[in-house]
């Protein structure tokens, strides 16, 4: 039984105009969230309309499965994406994902949804070439669905609770999968305690989206030194609320990964090299405030060509991994 108020339109164009006028979109057209579609999305995920996915207590907001399904339809998702959307909403609304701060901040932090496990193949989540950008329906619409929930339900609206000075194009949508098959490493979700065949999403905030690019490095150490030097330019900040749980995410492309693979370096080996260096903040350097080596999340993604690792440097939040049911 759906609870949302109903609006009737004579024509699809009238719906688009009315939704835009009411501020229910990100500025792009949306798919009409008809009751039949919303119910189909809920059924696809085995969710009841009133099931609570999470809350933003400071905003007096409770997010239900119906809210998520409506926005997933509007974002252009297929119904089989709904379990991923629901898990992403749950992850984002975890207390330590810090929705209130990361969606209202002056710095305009974005959210990334990283997908692991078999669901990537089932719904065709792009993990390799061009996976950060447009052209992949699952990536584009799952990321957009989370952002529409943040806007339409969590009230992060410019000039209302979103006070970003510039905001970010990443806020339209940002979702990709870990290239588990193209990597010798343990996938991120396995490192975080899930079985390899358990699909998951990991949601994190991004204050800075930065490429650590190095065409000359030929060893694991040299690549990591470039990553660390790039990270130092921005720093990673934490606070008492987040404690030791702050995360930063490194997305390693194949041209950098080859050097780790050739030398047999695991993700833990990478952390082992970086961690002592991270502890020593030199004069004039920005701190990297991670409470533990595992605060560095490492994923493999992207296509061949550019010798780079992307750094997803957070606003104040933990990266939260949720199982997809």
């Amino acid at each position: 039984m759906l609870n949302a108020e109903r609006h009737a339109y004579d024509h699809h164009d009238a719906l688009q105009e009315d939704y835009a006028d009411r501020g229910w979109t990100d500025g792009l057209p949306v798919v009409a969230p008809t009751p039949a579609k919303v119910e189909a999305f809920l059924d696809a995920a085995g969710l009841k309309a009133g099931e609570v996915l999470g809350e933003v207590p400071t905003r007096e907001v409770v997010v239900t499965a119906e809210h998520a399904a409506i926005n997933a339809v509007m974002a252009g998702c297929k119904q089989e994406y709904m379990p991923v959307v629901a898990a992403a909403v749950r992850a984002h609304l975890h207390e330590k994902a810090n929705c209130h701060s990361t969606t209202g901040t002056l710095c305009g932090a974005a959210q990334v949804v990283v997908v692991n496990g078999p669901v990537r193949k089932e719904i065709e989540i792009a993990c390799e070439g061009a996976c950060f950008g447009p052209g992949f329906r699952a990536n584009a619409t799952i990321g957009r669905a989370l952002r529409l929930v943040i806007r339409n339900v969590c009230r992060a609206i410019p000039d209302f609770l979103d006070r970003a000075s510039f905001s970010s194009p990443l806020r339209y949508s940002f979702c990709f999968g870990e290239n588990e098959e193209g990597s010798p490493w343990l996938p991120m979700h396995v490192e975080r305690g899930f079985a390899p065949d358990q699909s998951t999403v990991t949601v994190h905030s991004i204050m800075h989206f930065v490429s650590a690019i190095d065409f000359t490095a030929r060893t694991p150490e040299a690549v990591l030194d470039t990553i660390l030097a790039t990270l130092r330019r921005y720093g990673v900040f934490s606070d008492r609320f987040l404690g030791d749980g702050q995360n930063v995410m490194l997305v390693v492309g194949p041209e950098h990964m080859r050097f780790f693979a050739e030398e047999g370096w695991s993700k833990d080996d990478m952390r082992g090299y970086l961690w002592p260096k991270i502890q020593k903040t030199g004069a004039g350097e920005r701190p990297i405030m991670l409470g533990q080596p595992e605060g560095m999340l490492i994923t493999a993604a992207g296509g061949p060509g550019m010798a780079e690792t992307w750094l997803l440097i957070p606003h104040l939040a933990w990266a939260i991994t949720e199982p997809i049911s």
Binding site: R59, E60, L106, R155, D159, L161
Partner: protein, 75 residues
């Protein structure tokens, strides 16, 4: 803003100091919290809100803001 409102709910007189850069979200937060008329002190430039201020700038700001905080708490 929400911190001040929740402290008030706990019976602790409070005053929120809000920079003009976030005035809109402060008013939105008061509205969402059910106290749309909750008063607060608005501070403005000359200093960038997220900058690290010099000692002299801090003293200038304190001289301007402190009397307003006192008035708000004792009104």
């Amino acid at each position: 803003m929400r911190d001040a409102i929740e402290l008030e709910w706990a019976g602790i007189p409070s005053v929120a100091i809000i920079h003009t850069a976030v005035e809109g979200s402060a008013r939105a937060m008061a509205k969402l919290s059910g106290v749309p008329d909750y008063d607060f002190i608005l501070v403005d430039y000359p200093y960038i809100p997220t900058a690290i201020w010099s000692e002299a700038e801090i003293r200038d700001l304190a001289k301007e803001v402190a009397p307003r905080v006192l008035r708000a708490l004792t009104a």
